[in-house]
Each structure stands twice: as structure tokens, then as C-alpha cells.
């Protein structure tokens, strides 16, 4: 490359090149030096330039392969290098998947449509795998008439592919690179030797890169598994902690007042109040235990829900009337909005009240005093088979990335709130199971600072 031949000189040079021997491109090239006696630089200089170009290509490749590249970028870098090394516009690279039964996977092709390169992979390259693994050398198309059918050879010729380089790991074949040769001048033995070395170097780098990315993937999977375990562990710890607090507190209260009663054996005027508190705490404990038992029962499919057609409007009005004063006492604005003439739907009244209790208690727990909670029911305009019942609040809302955790048992979206808000993180999971058992489904939607809406979809009878 010492001199820069003019285009006309190059054309002349090209015309002086002997026609390649299609069966033995490497052998043909050995005569090239003798034939090109009238070139600008002379055959020796030209051969020297080609050898320098080959070596430079190899050195460039060693700098270009960064193990952190993905396999497609890796393949591009190598194929472009090989193409520029030999001066061919045609190349393709297939990888043999780790599974022994897997077929060759086309990674990249240049100058050959992908569909054709896939066909070549299946039709031609698959048959070469054993030979490449055995010989561990570049193979030339025109020496492979015993491996290829005439149709295979024609396919390879038509796409300009003339040689096949194995990508070898110490004990296996990683893949195959197919390349064309430049027109009129075939690669000489030195170029092929350097290409062989480049392919071997590339194979080692490719294997390192694949190991690197497999390791990265394994690390990612382990990290994910670890995060899941931590989440489960957190859930378990919170559950144990909550159970401890939730069960101990009412028992302690009852015990305290019972002791107080005992101390005041001769009952005074306070005895009645103390007994009321004992009863309240007992009732609370009873309901919590009931939910816990229900959940475990539903999880094991031991509880049957007796659903049937019923008047959902009547149930909701009745429920609203029963709860509104209590909700108002806790300074929440509870409203009912019912569509007229709702059809009968499939539900079980006791379970439906239980679900509504869970949703209403949840809304009260996680909204500030003065917040509005609205119970709505109406038909779905786009689904005549369902009725929609919603418990909607205008509280602080729940972040979108936390919504999916709402129905996970023993998890609350913010563990720090759990104890403060006296919850077990079980209610919504139970509600979800109860609604599903009644043939419906429950959805949650929320917007930060705008509020949260739980939607029950129940089938019309």
C-alpha cells in the first residue's frame, strides 16, 4: 500500500489478473504472482501489500472485539473485518446453540438476504458441521462436492459464498462463518492462513463474550431471585409481627379489664363500661381470626360460597344504611350512588357484605378524616353481562407500581403503615378470593392525590 494506483491503473491491474480457478481458489492464487508481471508495483510488492493488509486486518480485529458487545454487534465487527480482509461483499455467521439437538442459528448475513442465509444454514452448513469439527480448518466450497448436492453448490455459488471457517472452542464447534472471495483474484494461502488465525481468535473471543453474557444473565436471575426471597421474607416478618401485635393487643386489653373487674369485685358504676370494652375487643379479635380462617380456608378450597341471584340494590342500600353512621362517626363522608333498576346479579349476601366491609374499612384506614367514600353501582355500557360496584375514595392514592401488590396476602403497599393502620394485609386478598368465588372479579385503580377506586364486576343473573 505504498503507492496509490489510479483507477485506470487499477482497472488494468484487474484485467491482468488470471481468472480464478473456481474449484481451488487458494491454489489458483499461487500463480497470480507470476501472471501479474506488468502491475504498477510488481508482483512482489503487491503480494507484500496484500500480506500486510491481511496482518493489519488481524491486528484490527484483535482491537475491535470487546467482550461486552452483544453477540450481534460482535458478529458484525468480525464479519465486516473478514469482508474487508478478503474484499468480498458476501458473508454470514451461524451459531450452534448449546443444546446438542439445536439447529444452526443465523446471527448475521451481509450481501445475502436473511431468508436465503437461513436456507443456506439449514441446507448446506448443517452438513458441514462434522467435517469442520474434524478438520478444524477453513473449507472451500469447490472442494466439497462430496458434501454438497449440485443444488447446494449452485445455491452457494449464486450467493457468492466460497469458503467456510469453523469457529472452534477447544472441544466443540461454536459456529460457522461463510465468506465469498473477491472477483477475479482469489485469496492467496497467506491470506487464508491469516483468516484461519482470525477465525480462531474470533472464536475464543466469542466464547468469552458468550460466557460473559451468560454470567451477566445468571447474576441478574440470582439478583431477582434474591429480591423475591427478600420480599417473601419481609412479608413473613410483617405477618408474624402483625399477628403478634394484632392478637396480643385485644387479648391484653381484655385481660387488663378482666383483672380490673376482679380487683373491683364489688362492682361499681364503671363495671358496665369495662365489660363493653371487653366485648368490643373480643368482637374485633373474633372478626380478625374469622378473616384469617376464611382466607386459609379459601386458599385450600375448603369454604364453599353459596352464590345465587339476588337484588344487589337492596343489599347495597341496606349495607349503606347500616354503616353510614359508624363511618360518619369516624369523620368520613360516606355516600351511595345507585343506578335505577339494576338487574339481579349472582352473589352471596353474607360474603358480599364481608367484601364491602373490607373495602370500606380499607378506605377509612387509608384516607384522612374528612375524606369522601362513595359506594356506586351501575350497569356496564360495554358489557351487558356484568354489574359494576365501586368503592371510591378521594384519599392520597396508591402509586401505580404498588397496585399489583394490593391483593397479595400479608403484604401491604407500605409496610410502615401496616401497624399504624392496624391491618394484617389480608383483607384485600380475602376480598379478591371471595369475589372470584362468586364468579366476579375485583380491580383496583388509583391516582396519587386523587384517590383510589376498587371495582367489583359481578355477573348478571
Amino acid at each position: 500500500m505504498k503507492k496509490n494506483p489510479t483507477p485506470s491503473m487499477a482497472r488494468k491491474l484487474s484485467q491482468e489478473m488470471p481468472r480464478p480457478d473456481p474449484r481451488h481458489p487458494s491454489r489458483q492464487s499461487r500463480t497470480r504472482g507470476q501472471a501479474v508481471t506488468r502491475s504498477v508495483d510488481g508482483p512482489a510488492e503487491r503480494e507484500s501489500d496484500l500480506q500486510r493488509h491481511s496482518l493489519l486486518s488481524f491486528f484490527e480485529l484483535s482491537k475491535e472485539l470487546d467482550y461486552s458487545l452483544n453477540i450481534y454487534d460482535f458478529a458484525d465487527r468480525a464479519l465486516f473485518n473478514f469482508m474487508g480482509h478478503l474484499g468480498t461483499p458476501h458473508s454470514a455467521l451461524w451459531i450452534l446453540p448449546p443444546e446438542a439437538t439445536g439447529s444452526l442459528v443465523l446471527i448475521r448475513s451481509h450481501g445475502i438476504p436473511e431468508s436465503v442465509a437461513r436456507q443456506i444454514g439449514m441446507q448446506c452448513i448443517e452438513t458441514l458441521v462434522d467435517r469442520l469439527l474434524r478438520d478444524r480448518r477453513i473449507q472451500f466450497r469447490d472442494d466439497l462436492s462430496d458434501s454438497f448436492t449440485p443444488a447446494d453448490l449452485e445455491l452457494l455459488r449464486s450467493r457468492g459464498l466460497a469458503l467456510f471457517a469453523p469457529l472452534l472452542a477447544p472441544d466443540k464447534l461454536l459456529g460457522v462463518v461463510a465468506l465469498g472471495t473477491r472477483q477475479n483474484t482469489a485469496a492467496d494461502p497467506f491470506e487464508i492462513e491469516v483468516l484461519q488465525a482470525s477465525a480462531e481468535f474470533f472464536a475464543v473471543a466469542l466464547q468469552n463474550s458468550m460466557f460473559y453474557h451468560q454470567l451477566q444473565e445468571s447474576v441478574r436471575e440470582l439478583r431477582q431471585a434474591n429480591e423475591n426471597l427478600q420480599e417473601l421474607d419481609r412479608a413473613k416478618n410483617e405477618f408474624v409481627s402483625n399477628m403478634h401485635h394484632e392478637l396480643r393487643t385485644p387479648v391484653t386489653v381484655m385481660q387488663m379489664y378482666a383483672e380490673s373487674l376482679l380487683e373491683e369485685a364489688v362492682a361499681g358504676s364503671s363495671q358496665r363500661e369495662h365489660l363493653k370494652i371487653v366485648l368490643q375487643q373480643t368482637e374485633k379479635l373474633k372478626r380478625m381470626l374469622e378473616n384469617l380462617l376464611d382466607y386459609s380456608g379459601l386458599a385450600g378450597n375448603r369454604i364453599e360460597v353459596q352464590s345465587g341471584p339476588g337484588d344487589i340494590s337492596a343489599l347495597l342500600r341496606d349495607y349503606y344504611d347500616n354503616r353510614r353512621n359508624g363511618v360518619a362517626a369516624r369523620l368520613h363522608d360516606f355516600r351511595l350512588v345507585l343506578e335505577d333498576d339494576l338487574p339481579a346479579v349472582i352473589f352471596e349476601p353474607r360474603r358480599m357484605r364481608q367484601v364491602l366491609d373490607i373495602l370500606l374499612d380499607n378506605a377509612m384506614r387509608f384516607t384522612p378524616q374528612g375524606a369522601r367514600i362513595t359506594l356506586r353501582a351501575h350497569r356496564l355500557p360495554d358489557d351487558p353481562a356484568m354489574v359494576r360496584i365501586q368503592m371510591e375514595d378521594n384519599g392520597p392514592g396508591i402509586a401505580a407500581d404498588k397496585l399489583h401488590k394490593l391483593f397479595v396476602p400479608f403484604l401491604q403497599v407500605d409496610g410502615s403503615l401496616t401497624r399504624e393502620k392496624n391491618g394484617l394485609g389480608l383483607g384485600l386478598a380475602l376480598a379478591n378470593r371471595l369475589v372470584q368465588a362468586m364468579g366476579g372479579k375485583i380491580l383496583a385503580a388509583s391516582e396519587i392525590d386523587r384517590g383510589t377506586t376498587f371495582t367489583l364486576l359481578l355477573p348478571i343473573a
Partner: protein, 142 residues
């Protein structure tokens, strides 16, 4: 043979994404969009066209093809080094543009480019054009 134009470079400093910039710098290499001449889109390349730069050229070519620009000229007058990968990209992209019923032209190739092209006798695979004007008036070598 469409390929994603993404590039994974590990922790290396990354060049600006090709799709959002009219000028790409990577070390000594620089690639910038030139003037459009009718249906011809011109890219001006300068500096060392090594393996990494070659992949940037390939990505930019793929982007421009995807945008419907099917006649592309690469001004190579300021290219000071052409690695094998660079030549490989020229050969590959010439085929890609042909397949897309378009054409890729190497314009005003510098001496380092022409010496490699001539040495490997790959001129017949490429469209080498002395100047943009020659290309616009249809005097290209192909």
C-alpha cells in the same frame, strides 16, 4: 437483512445516537450529514474509519434507509485510515442499498481508501465517484 441500529458498548463512552444527531464523533472519527442534492443524501466522513467507526457508519446507513433515503453518497475525501471493517461496511452497505432498490456511492475517495480498494480489486463491487457533481449529473463509475 435489516438490523437493529442499537449499539452495545459496555461501559465505554458512547457516541451520540445516530438517529438523533447530524454529527457523530467517535475518537478521531467524525461523521456528519451533508447537503441533500435532490434524492441524494450526503454523509461526510473524516478521520480514522476503524471497526468501531465502521459500525457507526453501518448504523447510520441503516437509519437513513429506514427513513426512505435510498441514494446515499459517502464523502471520503477526509478519511485518513480505512480499516478492513470500514471496507467491509462499504461492501455490505452497497449490497444493502442495492437490495432496497437504491444505491450507495463512495465520493472523492482519499488515497488511503483508493489504495485499499485497488489492492483488493473490489472496485467493481463499489460505486466510486470523483465528486458529488459527477454523481448528480450521472457521471458515476457505475
Amino acid at each position: 437483512m435489516s438490523r437493529p441500529s442499537g449499539n452495545s458498548e459496555g461501559s465505554r463512552p458512547r457516541p451520540k445516537p445516530a438517529g438523533s444527531s447530524r454529527e457523530i464523533l467517535a475518537g478521531d472519527f467524525k461523521m456528519s450529514d451533508g447537503k441533500r442534492r435532490g434524492s441524494l443524501m450526503l454523509l461526510e466522513l473524516s478521520g480514522r474509519l476503524d471497526g468501531r467507526a465502521a459500525q457507526l457508519v453501518q448504523q447510520r446507513c441503516a437509519e437513513l434507509r429506514a427513513q426512505g433515503m435510498h441514494v446515499l453518497g459517502l464523502d471520503l475525501s477526509q478519511v485518513t485510515f480505512l480499516a478492513s471493517s470500514g471496507l467491509g461496511v462499504f461492501l455490505a452497505e452497497t449490497e444493502e442499498f442495492k437490495e432496497a432498490k437504491g444505491s450507495l456511492h463512495l465520493i472523492a475517495v482519499s488515497s488511503v481508501v483508493s489504495s485499499v480498494v485497488n489492492l483488493l480489486n473490489v472496485g467493481r463491487f463499489l460505486s466510486l465517484v470523483p465528486s458529488v457533481d459527477d454523481l448528480v449529473v450521472g457521471k458515476g463509475s457505475r
